[in-house]
Symmetry: C2
Subunit: 267 residues, 2 copies
């Protein structure tokens, strides 16, 4: 098993392209941004783009291709969306039908790719500031919950806000808010702090996705908008075809994690 933690983003993408890397990318090319993928046909792209624009906290756009484009231009120079991710998921009419290792056969001239930010960027900053990130400590997946908060709809897309949760000691919540509020490009500040029932979460011990984590005495559950939201909204419309990365098998970009805010808002 090759250790990709110190690899460059280009080396990780090359390995995925050559089929040498088919596993999750967590911890690879440390210090560089990883992104969620959504691919939709052009006839749904405008509504999806508008949905992301109307819901910037759960749907932070990092890069959107032009119709038919499969090469990235901004987050990396010329990475191939069809091959440079270790594993993909294909949904037809809202049902997952296959998990291919590339999209060379599946790519259509009317496809548009969307790369969306993930919480990876802000988790590193939290930990660097001494704020614990429990699911990293416990080596599990972050707990994710569907809330009773509705996103702003756009065209055919609508659906509930999905959130991730990290338990934070009371004295460190201010710091967690301060740090993430400065990062609107990767979900921004928490959308809710405290009582899970207020946002429609019945049992904090039973997340809808990911794994439950320990909440210690004196800690409060803190909820951030989650990148699962746009995929869930897209799938709810049951498009003829939609392609995403396989969970945990992310796109690794050439932008440093610490520069993501500047990258998105730069001119």
């Amino acid at each position: 098993m090759t250790d990709y933690s110190k690899a460059t983003p280009q080396q990780v993408r090359d390995a995925a392209r050559k089929g040498l890397l088919v596993g999750q990318t967590s911890g690879m090319a440390q210090g560089y941004v990883q992104a969620n993928l959504a691919v939709l046909p052009m006839n749904l792209a405008y509504d999806f783009l508008l949905f992301c624009t109307r819901n910037p906290k759960p749907c932070p756009l990092i890069e959107v291709g032009s119709e038919g484009d499969y090469l990235t231009r901004f987050i990396a120079d010329g990475a191939d969306i069809r091959t440079d991710i270790p594993k993909y998921r294909v949904y037809r009419d809202g049902i997952m039908t296959e998990e291919p290792l590339d999209l060379l056969e599946l790519w259509q001239d009317d496809f548009v790719f969307f790369l969306l930010g993930c919480s990876f960027s802000f988790e590193n900053r939290l930990m660097a500031a001494g704020v614990p990130v429990r699911h990293v400590e416990e080596k599990t997946n972050v707990p994710i919950y569907v809330t009773n908060i509705q996103c702003r709809p756009a065209g055919v897309f609508h659906g509930p806000l999905v959130v991730s949760m990290r338990p934070i000691p009371g004295r460190l919540i201010s710091k967690a808010v301060e740090i993430t509020s400065r990062l609107p490009a990767v979900h921004g500040s928490p959308v809710h702090i405290g009582d899970p029932s207020v946002i429609g979460i019945k049992d904090i011990g039973k997340p809808d996705f990911g794994d439950p984590v320990t909440i210690k005495p004196g800690e409060v559950p803190v909820f951030w908008a989650c990148g699962v939201t746009p995929q869930a909204a897209a799938l709810a419309t049951k498009p003829d075809i939609m392609i995403t990365h396989s969970p945990g098998h992310m796109f690794v970009g050439d932008i440093k994690d610490s520069m993501i805010q500047e990258f998105i808002y730069g001119v």
Copy 2:
């Protein structure tokens, strides 16, 4: 002359709708957000939306209508884009052809409206924090310059970044950066501070739009991305038809100025 400074946004829009108000909206419905208008046919809407998404500092989207919609849903409940702005400009093939008081005759079923943030929101916050805003002190228009920085292109849209300038005393620049960096929904932090020639401005005394302002000893020119950028990029493509507000004749929304950041990023 009616004094609209203490009027509600609804009263200002009603007056514009009834033709009682045909002048600039500066200072009206104080404390409420004012927005730039761009109306484009649907065949250009995707590229324009993508251009705004790729250039969030100059192009902060406040609300985008669905195809054919002329009623706002978010910034105000049911305001009519066709009538509730005091004066409009119609551009055909990139040339201004008329300045109508409403769009009732001109509206097309394939039109999409875009409302974009303006610096009004952050100027009030600067002044409240003791940072001088020179063009307000001198009762002129803010000086605006075309730079040599290119925006990220999107489809048919491309063009240079346009900036506004406010001279700030050296000891208050940090405060101006701190305040505006917390407001990415209305242009965010400055894009350049200091030597104008670095960003292609030959003569700070001769702005491309607006009026020159006094720069006092110890003050440094501070440049923010400007909402003229997206309109300039749109007009550069010479669309068959494009409609904007007439300069200074803004859309007045029901959202409080002080809540614009929360409004845009709210879920």
